[in-house]
Amino acid sequence: MANKPELMPGTLDMLILQTLKRAPLHGYGIAQSIKRISDDVLTVEEGSLYPALQRLLLQGWVKAEWKTTDTNRRARFYTLTTAGRKQLGVEVSKFEQMVTAIGRVLRDVEEAR
């Protein structure tokens, strides 16, 4: 774990929301999806999904319901709500602003060198 980049603080919620945008998923599915799509670059301590999910539930950005999986197991599936979709937009644009800004600073430093 040590040689992989740590997740930037505050981004976990955004990643979960983004992942749920495609389809409702259970916790394990969310972890798998993030890992797969990021080519194993972004790994989270998988358990930390759960406090984060509780946080999102409390804010009303996701909904949860118990369903059965393909393997016929009971699992809690999380769905993005309308409020969650809006929140995702806000967070993404904030994140992009930040990334752009950081990128600009980094370029500036290179040019000055």
């Binding site: 259970h26 916790g27 394990y28 972890a31 301590e45 998988e46 358990g47 930390s48 759960y50 406090p51 509780q54 946080r55 539930l57 409390l58 804010q59 009303g60 118990w66 197991r73 009971r74 699992a75 809690r76 409020a83």
Partner: protein, 882 residues
């Protein structure tokens, strides 16, 4: 979602907590299972796969807690902390009970004393708008607050511009005739507006009417509530009845409220208007009144003082013979009443405060010991994911809980203590301090206890927190609970116990000084032999003994009658018994000496020959004692005390000198025929005063005291004495029967000193106990921590005596530092309470040394037990135990 929505969801979770936990667990278990399957898919054994999955998942307990925290109300974790704290405290009943008891003692004692201070400082006067009341008196060169003369009072009342009203009061006695026997009762004589000025209204009947205090006015009387209930059965028709007071008929016009008390005349059963002027009041130079005034709106005490001073100055010009150098004294009424008790109360409050500090320190060191032994628990909780904040909160919660329990128990203790103190408080002191009757656990006391509790809680919470912050959790876990950290405890705990010992030393020194001062007070050289003397006050009604000639005949009659009682050796008759007050003074002028109208104030006492010679056994320095021929048929003579001889006849022989009044009137002239050693006429802690004695046949009075010397038990004689006097004439009032020894021991000074001494002594004893228990705890704990070290030492050949010495040396150091610091503080404290000390300096070496010795001895005892235990350590066992 809105805040409201979030709140509702939290509430939903709270109501179905089981469901929430169950679902979370199921979800997380499902996740781990899936990951394990993944690992099995790449060829791991199921068991290895499960472990790998759990590692990848993270600390499940911590995650579960964090999830809970998200949806929990803040209060919920607080409730959890409290539940856990309660469980912790219940698991250690010994610790909990000890801690709560100590806190209850500390908080209770300080809250109880605070109750008294509060009542004294905040509501000293049970009257309407007490802040506007001022005490008004004259000021003489020797007396900063002296009586007013009636003429001066009337002028002041008429001429002042700063007082809405000014009213006079004085004490008097009447023979109350109810049924066959007359009984002397104490009464107050007041000007007509007195009760109106105080803002007191009668519960029954009416107040005195304006003009009722003028000479010749109809005689009316108001009853104190107690008198009405006790002597008149609380009958409403008592109003309008006529009652005989010293032979004169008085009409009862009113009854005062039950809670009415006027401290300067607290024992008054009846109140009458000033009315006719007595002998003293017809002269401007004779002072027998005090006054109470109510300030006009906007007027201050200083303005009133300046106003009355101005009037006094005008009167001094107008009447130089009587008013030269007579000024005015104005002070807030509360000052008059509380001024005396304030240093006492503050001393007691300080004592209680110190006790509280000891109690807190003791509990704090108990907590420290516990936090030491809980290091592993804390480390485990930390490793399981409890955040430092959460751990600290746990300790704070425990401290708060203990403090709260201590506060509750403390308030109960305070209520008990207040009740006890009120019961123990001498009647006399209750009269001195009328506000005491209102003391109880009230809002102020509770607020004070709450504040003190917060401070205590802070201390209790901070001690283990500081302790925790200073070391890392992981170290504790690996170390197995011994070694370096206990060094910290030893230093911290030791410092705390030094504080305890220092405070115990200070309180002990205070108690020691007060005890010695009480001893000195009771053994002051009174200049007479108090043993085997019985005394009573006698009042002869003027209706039966209208003229002084009658009184003069009464004296020998009483004397002869009493001499017939078995065991009676001598019968003394006097105007005032010894050890009373700086009262009944006279202004003198010595013939042949320069005189400029100054007030040479001396005390005047009238006595029959036996009183000085055989009853008090006064020591005659030179000249002679009175004889039976020193009567109205022979010239006036006087005997003076040594102080008077030194003051007014320095370097000369006073015998044969003539003394008179300011004008040297022929009738006032008397010759000095004797000098006696000082007899203590005023309070025990006062300076000896110049005193002149007259033969009672020259200065007869219908109110006098009998002092009877007997060969037998003087206490047993008292009832016979009363009976014998009444047998002469049933109209003679007889009361206040008391032995002379009791009289001294119950004199106000002695009573108040004794009360303070007992209380501070109680504080000191408690402090000693707590301090020594604290020391025992520290040493015992240190021994238990060092068992292995001691085992090693002994295995390497250390003698038992050496181990003994090792432990005792540690305790000795702590005690030594505590005592040394305590000695330093004690001297300071002694200086602060100088006003309460009599005949003892604040650095009285024998007291301090004795007290240090007592503390040292107890400390030695406390450390001897653990030292013995240390010396008995079996090295083999000690080492094997590791």
């Amino acid at each position: 979602m809105s805040a409201m929505g979030r709140w509702l969801r939290k509430l939903g979770v709270l109501l179905s907590r089981e469901k929430f936990s169950g679902e979370l667990n199921e979800e997380m278990a499902f996740h781990v299972e899936q990951v394990a399957k993944e690992f099995e898919g790449i060829g791991m054994t199921p068991e290895a796969a499960r472990y790998a999955a759990m590692r990848r998942f993270g600390n499940a307990t911590q995650l579960r807690e964090r999830s809970h925290e998200v949806v929990e109300f803040r209060a919920e974790t607080v409730a959890q902390d409290i539940r856990y704290a309660v469980r912790q405290l219940r698991k250690n009943p010994g610790f909990t009970v000890t801690a709560i008891l100590m806190l209850a003692l500390g908080i209770g004692a300080s809250a109880a004393i605070f109750g008294f201070v509060d009542a004294a400082m905040l509501e000293p006067l049970p009257y309407a708008q007490p802040n506007g009341l001022v005490d008004v008196a004259e000021k003489a060169t020797v007396f900063p607050r002296s009586n007013l003369s009636r003429a001066d009072f009337e002028d002041w009342q008429r001429m002042n511009k700063t007082l809405r009203s000014l009213d006079a009061y004085t004490g008097t006695g009447y023979l109350l005739r109810l049924g066959p026997e007359s009984e002397p009762v104490m009464a107050g004589r007041v000007s007509d507006g007195f009760f109106h000025t105080l803002g007191v209204q009668p519960v029954l009947g009416r107040d005195f009417r304006p003009g009722e205090d003028k000479p010749g006015a109809a005689k009316v009387v108001m009853l104190a509530y107690g008198t009405w209930m006790m002597r008149f059965g609380g009958r409403r028709d008592a109003i309008g009845e006529t009652v005989g007071l010293s032979g004169d008929p008085y009409t009862i016009v009113g009854v005062l409220p039950q809670n009415f008390v006027f401290q300067p005349r607290a024992n008054a059963e009846l109140w009458t208007p000033l009315g006719d002027k007595n002998g003293c009041e017809s002269r401007r130079s004779c002072h027998d009144l005090y006054a109470v005034g109510r300030l006009r709106d906007g007027a201050t005490v200083e303005m009133a003082q300046a106003d009355l001073q101005q009037i006094a100055a005008e009167l001094a010009i107008q009447y130089p013979g009587s008013n030269k150098d007579q000024g005015a004294s104005v002070q807030p009424m509360s000052e008059l009443i509380v001024g005396q008790v304030r240093p006492i109360l503050l001393t007691l409050l300080a004592g209680a405060g110190l006790l509280l500090v000891i109690a807190c320190v003791n509990v704090a060191s108990l907590l420290l010991v516990r936090s030491e032994s809980r290091r592993r628990e804390i480390a485990v909780r930390g490793a399981l994911g409890a955040t430092p904040v959460r751990l600290v909160r746990q300790f704070v919660t425990e401290g708060l809980l203990l403090a709260a329990a201590g506060c509750g128990a403390g308030l109960l203790t305070a209520a008990c203590l207040i009740g006890l103190l009120k019961a123990l408080m001498p009647k006399l002191m209750l009269d001195e301090a009328p506000f005491v009757r209102n003391v109880g656990v009230n809002a102020h006391t509770a607020l004070f206890a709450g504040g003190v509790t917060m401070l205590a809680a802070l201390m209790l919470a901070l001690t283990p927190v500081l302790r925790l912050a200073l070391k890392d959790v992981h170290g504790a876990l690996s170390e197995g609970g011994r070694g370096a950290a206990s060094r910290f405890w030893r230093r911290m705990g030791a410092n705390l116990v030094v504080v305890e010992l220092t405070i115990a030393m200070v309180l002990l020194a205070g108690a020691g000084l007060l005890t010695k001062s009480l001893y000195r007070l009771l053994h002051v050289d009174v200049g007479f032999d108090a043993a085997h003397v019985a005394t009573v006050q006698v009042m002869a009604p003027e209706t039966f003994y209208p003229k002084s000639e009658n009184w003069v005949h009464l004296y020998p009659a009483i004397r002869n009658r009493l001499l017939g009682l078995p065991g009676v050796q001598a019968v003394g008759i006097t105007s005032d018994l010894p050890v009373q007050c700086n009262c009944d003074t006279d202004w003198i002028r010595i013939a042949g000496k320069p005189f400029h109208g100054e007030h040479n104030e001396v005390m005047e006492r009238d006595a029959n020959p036996e009183y000085l010679a055989t009853v008090l056994k006064a020591r005659l320095v030179e000249g002679r004692i009175f004889t039976d021929t020193d009567d109205l048929k022979h010239p006036r003579v006087t005997i003076i005390n040594e102080t008077m001889a030194k003051t007014y006849f320095p370097g000369e022989d006073p015998l044969g000198k003539m003394i008179g009044n300011g004008n040297l009137d022929a009738t006032s002239m008397r010759q000095v025929v004797g000098v006696i050693a000082d007899i203590r006429e005023n309070a025990l802690d006062d300076q000896a005063w110049p005193t002149e004695y007259f033969s009672i046949y020259h200065e007869p009075d219908n109110y006098f005291a009998l002092a009877v010397r007997t060969a037998g038990d003087e206490k047993a004689l008292l009832p016979d004495l009363v009976k014998a006097v009444r047998a002469i004439n049933p109209n003679l009032g007889v009361n206040e029967e008391i032995t002379l020894v009791e009289q001294i021991e119950n004199s106000p000074t002695a009573v108040i000193h004794r009360f303070v001494t007992w209380l501070v002594g109680g504080f000191a004893a408690t402090a000693l106990l707590l301090g020594v228990v604290g020391l025992y705890g520290v040493v015992a704990y240190s021994v238990s921590q060092r068992t292995r070290e001691i085992g090693v030492r002994m295995a390497l050949g250390a003698q038992r005596s050496a181990v003994h010495r090792l432990i005792l040396k540690e305790a000795g150091w702590l005690t030594g530092i505590g005592i040394a610091a305590g000695l330093g503080c004690s001297v300071g404290v002694g200086l602060l309470m100088k006003s309460l000390l009599f005949g003892v300096r604040s650095w009285d070496v024998p007291t301090l040394a004795g007290v240090a010795g007592v503390l040292g001895l107890f400390a030695l005892l406390a450390s001897f037990i653990p030292a013995r235990r240390a010396a008995r350590v079996n090295p083999v066992e000690a080492l094997r135990a590791e």
